[in-house]
């Protein structure tokens, strides 16, 4: 136990303190403010892998590390679509995952948001559209925000979630900044 406490003390709090001029930090502050304004509570996110190569999943997992500390912002990944406000979907959507993705989407209570993640989720990427790959997420369910990248960095993913919460979001728009 002593070793664990010593290690916690030695590593300290890593969540990045970003100076005011840093665009990344402004994004995170703004994100928290918007969530409080709009949701008035924690934002619950359900991640669905609709057929990705799994690189996007690695970056989604990284959002939870102490440096990005997404839970500290009030955003939580949940285990059921029925608990979710927002779906984060990686792709390309495979023909075999179409039904499962549609059912997951329908299980999320209204109003709901969808963020398509990665070059493949946004446009089919290296796998394209055709044959076993149905291409972008928007071919199967309505998408509010697309966050391209191969894979998109955790900071970009946070920016995408913010874009989904912003009322000015155009359907299938590209995440800032």
């Amino acid at each position: 136990m002593l070793k664990i406490l010593r290690q916690i003390h030695r590593i300290g709090i890593l969540t990045e303190p970003v100076p005011a001029a840093d665009a990344g930090m402004r994004l995170r502050e703004a994100l928290q403010r918007r969530i409080l304004q709009i949701m008035g509570r924690a934002l619950c996110v359900r991640a669905v892998d609709a057929g990705s190569c799994n690189a996007c999943e690695l970056e989604l997992q990284a959002l939870g590390n102490p440096i990005y500390n997404i839970e500290g912002l009030g955003i939580r990944f949940v285990a059921s679509p029925r608990h979710a406000d927002l779906l984060l979907v990686t792709g390309p959507v495979t023909a075999h995952m179409r039904d499962a993705l549609q059912q997951t989407y329908e299980a999320v209570p209204d109003p709901k948001l969808v963020v398509a993640v990665g070059d493949c989720g946004c446009g089919g990427g290296m796998f394209g559209t055709g044959g076993a790959s149905l291409g972008p997420v928007s071919n199967v369910i309505p998408v509010d925000v697309a966050v391209p990248g191969c894979p998109p960095s955790p900071t970009r993913l946070l920016a995408g979630i913010l874009a989904a919460l912003s009322p000015a979001t155009a359907p299938a728009g590209t995440a800032g900044p």
Binding site: K3, I4, Q7, I8, I11, L14, A47, V48, D49, A50, G51, S52, C53, N54, A55, C56, E57, L58, E59, L60, Q61, A62, G64, N65, P66, I67, Y68, F77, A79, S80, P81, P92, T94, A95, H96, M97, A100, L101, T104, G125, M126, F127, G128, G130, G131, A132, S133, C150, P151, S153
Partner: protein, 493 residues
């Protein structure tokens, strides 16, 4: 025939004399498999594809002490039987590969399981094996899972908490990768290869480049080989750190997840500084690597590796002494050595069950002929053993990484790869973090891909997971599954 005779009867496929190929009859297809299995060779991959000139064929690649051997059986020649001889009794995991070969290419084996595997028939229920008896019920899980993981379906047959049987149903991430490769330019194909399984991008893109370089007779510069090995070891460390944290978390020890995910993030940032990418999806390119490593960036990367190794040593001490973790890890998901050998458990999970194979030390392809990597292993075959192997490999890969940076030879980091003279064929195998990754590639004179088959070691290990969970409790499945951490995308193609 002995292994030596088979190797002598085969001829080199490309420039590397340790990769040999032989075209066989249906009878010899079976005999070769029997002889090689008896000699202790391992089946690395089995697939069906167009064999050029309008022929269809089934291919198998074996790894032996004498190198790699490819056997090719043409299935559409006169006198060929309607179904090729199945190899499932010799290599149990071959059954699914044969089912996939039938789904994707229409060639059938003589083995009895003819259920589709990668191709799901719409509206048709999959015939799971039913377990009957008092109090037996089924728990279906997936394809959408409660976490940030890939899609797949698991069907548990349980009595109370005890798992009697697990049956996997995969193929949900099937994207038609092999078809996508067709007619791509060989340079673009390398990018697709890296995305067969994103967590093994270096292993797949390196294996792809080896296959291409072998058939064009190009030897990458020594410095490029060293930088490729550095990328491969960075990928190994990053994945192991992620898994060690997740394994702690799955056993209720959130401290482990936050500590290891912090270390992983540090390493990813150092990797980005050195290679321009957090995940090395585009680091390996035909003929070499995407960019050179300047001395200053190399020094910082070496420092990061030293930091990771030192911190991991502290955390290992904590994991080793933590009674709660020991209780969950020891004896969970055990695959004993003889069963692992029989089922062909490979890679990291195999090494945790006494299967001491590692292509880096067994084949010693450049630059591992100069680097003297140390093979890590354990015997007990449980979650604890797979944790031990990950710890050992983190230390070893950090050591190798620092040695590579410290002794990096001078010279070019990329040479041009010419178009193949004729429609060539090559094989590349690389020991990725999960196990041996193989790519078979045929490129045409126009620089376009004729056919390409990428093979992930998850093919070998998914069936063994079904055995590992027998008699364990359902609640331990996430922990056992994570201790294998197999790829869905790499398997589903």
């Amino acid at each position: 025939m002995s292994l030596k005779t088979w190797l002598a009867a085969a001829s080199p496929l490309g420039a590397d004399p340790a990769i040999r190929a032989i075209r066989v009859t249906a009878e010899d297809w079976r005999r070769a498999a029997e002889d090689l299995a008896a000699a202790g060779a391992r089946l690395l991959a089995l697939w069906a594809q167009d064999a050029g000139a309008g022929h269809s064929a089934v291919f198998a690649v074996y790894a032996s002490a004498g190198g790699l051997l490819l056997t090719e059986l043409r299935c559409d020649v006169e006198g060929a039987p309607a179904a090729y001889p199945g190899l499932q009794d010799l290599f149990p995991f071959a059954g699914r590969m044969q089912r996939a070969a039938r789904d994707l290419y229409g060639l059938s084996s003589t083995d009895p399981d003819t259920r589709p595997w990668l191709r799901h028939a719409p509206g048709e229920a999959y015939a799971f094996v039913r377990v009957e008896g008092d109090g037996v019920h089924e728990i279906p899980v997936g394809p959408v899972h409660a976490g940030i993981i890939e899609p797949g379906h698991f069907r548990f047959s349980v009595v109370g908490e005890k798992v009697l049987r697990l049956e996997e149903r995969l193929g949900y991430a099937h994207k038609g990768v092999e078809r996508r490769f067709l007619d791509l330019d060989v340079e673009v194909g390398c990018r697709l290869a890296a995305r067969v399984s994103g967590d093994s991008a270096v292993a797949f893109s390196w294996a792809y480049c080896r296959a291409l370089e072998d058939q064009t007779g190009v030897a990458p510069p020594r410095r490029a080989n060293w930088l490729r090995a550095l990328a491969l070891e960075l990928e190994r460390v990053a994945n192991h750190l992620g898994d060690l944290g997740a394994l702690g978390n799955d056993a209720g020890f959130a401290f482990g997840l936050s500590q290891f995910s912090h270390l992983k993030e540090r390493l990813l940032r150092a990797t980005e500084e050195a290679y321009g990418q957090r995940y090395l999806l585009d680091a390996i390119v035909p003929g070499g690597v995407c960019r050179d490593l300047p001395a200053a960036a190399g020094a910082r990367l070496a420092q990061s590796l030293a930091y990771v190794a030192a911190q991991t040593a502290v955390l290992r001490d904590i994991y080793d002494e933590h009674a709660g973790l020991r209780d969950r890890f020891v004896g969970a998901g055990t695959v004993a050595g003889p069963l692992a050998a029989r089922l062909g458990l490979t890679g990291l999970a195999g090494r945790a069950s006494g299967q001491a194979y590692d292509l880096r030390t067994d084949l010693r392809d450049p630059p591992y002929d100069e680097l003297c990597a140390v093979k890590c292993g354990a015997e007990s075959g449980d979650v604890a053993a797979r944790v031990v192997v990950r710890f050992e490999e983190v230390f070893e890969s950090c050591r190798l990484g620092q040695r590579i940076i410290g002794g990096l030879p001078a010279g070019e980091v990329r040479v041009a790869v010419p178009r193949p003279d004729s429609d060539g064929f090559g094989i590349g195998a690389v020991e990725g973090w999960r196990g041996p990754v193989l790519v078979a590639l045929s490129a045409g004179r126009d620089g376009r891909i004729r056919r390409c088959h990428p093979h992930d070691p998850s093919w070998q290990n998914w069936p063994v997971l079904e055995h590992a969970v027998i008699d364990n409790i359902v609640a331990d499945f996430p922990l056992i599954n994570k201790s294998f951490n197999l790829s869905y995308s790499g398997h589903d193609l």
